[in-house]
Amino acid sequence: MPFNILVAVSLLYVVVLFGVAFVAERRARGGLAGWLRSPLVYTLSLSIYCTAWTFYGAVGYAARSGLEFLTIYLGPTLVFVGWWWVLRKLVRIGRAQRVTSIADLISSRYGKSNFLGVLVTLMAVLASTPYIALQLQSVTLSFGVFASDTPEGWALPDQGATALWLAAGLTLFTILFGTRNLDANERHHGIVMAIAVEAVVKLVALLAVGIFVVWGVAGGVADVLARIDASAISDWNLKPGRWAGLTFVSAAAILTLPRMFQVMVVENADERHVATASWAFPLYLMLMSLFVVPIAVVGLEIMPAGSNPDLFVLTIPLSAGAGKLALLAFLGGFSSATSMVIVAAIALATMVSNHIVTPLWLALRVGSARAPGDVRGIVLMSRRLSIGAVLALGYTYYHLSGGSAALAAIGLISFVGAAQVLPAMIGGIYWRGATHVGAAMGLITGFGIWLYCLFLPSFGADGLISTQVMAEGPFGIGWLRPQALFGIVGLDPLLHALFWSILLNTATFLIGSLASFPGPMERLQGVAFVNIFDQSSGPGGWVKSAAEAEDLLSMSQRILGPEEAQRFFQAQAAAQGKLGFLPDPTPDFIARLERQLAGSVGAATSHAMIAQLSGGATVSVQDLIAVAGEAQQIKEYSAQLEAKSDELARTARALREANDKLTDLSVQKDAFLSQISHELRTPMTSIRAFSEILMEVDLPDEMRTKYAGIIHDETRRLTRLLDDLLDLSVLENRRVQSNIGVANLHDLLSKAVTSASNTRPDRAFVVQRDAASEHMPVFTDTDRLLQVFINIVSNARKYCDAERAVLRIEVKKRGRIVEIDFIDNGSGIPKKSQALIFEKFARLTDTSHAGGAGLGLAICREIMANLGGSIDYLPGQGGAAFRVRLPLKRAS
């Protein structure tokens, strides 16, 4: 087979792939995606699990280690037939949360933590780089096989150039079809279709080689079985640890490899496709493995000793002269390598751009997402650059490692690295208690052990880890030897690294989760992930939506592209029953928009951008505590204010009462002044009038006498009034001379009643007394006391408005105090006036008929104060009631 034809066929094949991808993309755009999204295409796209490592490496693996190679395919088989457990849930979560990558899944689950996103991204890039290098190497090697016919022999003119051209071509293809649109939910129809075609090519190629070997070279099934038992492969020793361990790690890897996650979850168009894939994908794997052992056995038999068993798939047809079959096999290997590289590059580029480049770009820009700038362009550009960078890394690794190591070893190292995500992933979707602290601890631990025990030693003796460290441990610490941790020697290095990394990873993940406390967002996401089947709506609602729909639209346009964003907004507005492009920024709408954006830039970035716009950045527990603290302070302060204001109110009330009293008194005084002027004026007027009459000469004597009598009476009245005023003034100033004597209370009361009886003598007035209780001696100023009694009884006679007025006098002795109550049966004194009656000049009614000047009770109060007792109004007795309290013996 001329080498040039090979190159031409490869180029032609690539052109066909471009065509397939282009047509698929165009049909999808035209809405004819129907059969593009069939379960068959989904299953075939999963076949990127079978890379060049499978296509070439499985045969080599079988030639070296017998049936052990099957574990790599049996593990995924178990995962797929058990799809009801994990796959179904993963796909549902991926679709509900619009997850863009495995890093996004972890980041989103653990509170949209970007730190975890970065961590998983770095791990994925590191673990995938050797794998990509492996694909480049396999294609280069296969070119080399055909080039062995050329004069240069096995050594191609420039093997590095082949790999470089390949890497460049893959970069171009991936960028062309992988970054055409941004939203992951749009899916890469072109690429998925191209991968499906490649899946068919590689399956057909391997089956064709297998059939050729079994029925062409060997003599059928029975002959092959006999040859197997006769061959060196039959001497393989099943190592239980490796058998179980490799089955486990391949089962883990199919869930956690970034490229598998991409086709399995992100590119999934319909959950029911998983059901089909549950049997179709194991079938594909089985068919891929079916002829591996026969090819290996026959290859070992007929090929010259020392030929590379990794290339038997090519070299057997070539040596048998079947050039076209060899070409098909070459295309199969080429397909395996390219499809893996393309999807891996897309998956890694998405992660790098969403979790590292875009957040960095957002953080470095001082402005917010509101600021002008083409986010969409930035994201696309960063994704393209990332694709280039990922392939450049793979090429560099290939170039540095020199393409020497066996294919299988590199693949397994990559698997163990990818499997480190498993505890955080499974824990995240089944256990609400898993926290980002636990996840980060587990990931770092597992990844560190993987690096130290497997990845770095894989560069060979004196590569990145010196032989001395390998043999004696770092700094001579024996139990830290990379391939004999904790002094357990003799384990297979791969198994050793797998065991310790997964064990300690899981342990730290569990302990970290148990010991830490998740934030609110993390808890919401935890519920959303674990209970994905119980709910339809997304969590993490935007409670306050200060975001303006217009701002959101302008931001979304820059990420989703104007057309896409406008369509989404219009649909949302229509769903809210509004016309136009601007729906109300309800929490529901914002949550949906966030998920939509998450499909393009990842959950963490999307959340951060929405948070910037909606003003409510993520609410952390600290924030809540701070808010609660402030609220508490405000509450205390307001309680203090309330207390103060109560106090002020009380003071104000007291002041108001005092003021009211003053005002009342002032009114009373004015009234009294006018009254007293009147009182003084009336006798004066009559005195003047009668004096004028007396001055007449012809007045009869009896008249003169009468008038003189009147004048005399009036003068006495004036004098009494002035006496009262003087008396009060003296009493108030406590300058009264007391004249202490002893008297029987009964006698005093009797005198008072008698003296008062000339007040309104026309009235029928009954005084009820209990003489027995009244007999007691009092030592006091008896004249003054009598004056008080008279005043009270007269008042009762004057003011009691009952039809049959009755005054009851009760005397009670309480220790050294005697209480004398005067209770009548009138209507009493209104409550509002009770405080005023003892004031000077107080008079409750218009006092024309009262004849007094309103000084009586004021004088009484002063007298009683002088006698060491008191006089009070006694409310609630059915009429006016006064209580006079008097010490039996006045204190000297």
Binding site: T77, L78, E271
Partner: protein, 101 residues
């Protein structure tokens, strides 16, 4: 049994529920069969029997595929209508699957 689940299910729902059980058990069943070779030391047996082992593994593989095929056929309607009113138990089942995970 949670009180909100009906005690007696329609025949079809009952079948579907048991199929869900079966599909959950399938990987465990497969794992046991695939781990059986651990008991087997091909290099030490008097007669070379790697070929038999190969045939056995592929037979198990095929059984798993056929079982998964028939179960996925039966469960496809359950995926279509996970919230169908007749089976409030599907959600309870789905929520409870963490228990044995």
């Amino acid at each position: 049994m949670p009180h909100n689940q009906p005690l007696f299910l329609a025949r079809r729902s009952y079948r579907r529920r048991r199929m869900m059980d079966a599909v959950r058990l399938l990987p465990a069943f497969g794992a046991v069969l695939l781990m059986l070779p651990l008991l087997w030391q091909p290099a030490d047996t008097p007669e070379p029997d790697t070929a038999h082992g190969l045939v056995y593994l592929f037979a198990v593989w095929l059984v798993l595929i056929v079982a998964a095929l028939s179960l996925s056929r039966g469960l496809a309607p359950a995926l279509l209508a996970p919230e169908e009113p007749v089976s409030p138990g599907t959600e309870a089942d789905a929520g409870g699957e963490g228990g044995a995970g």
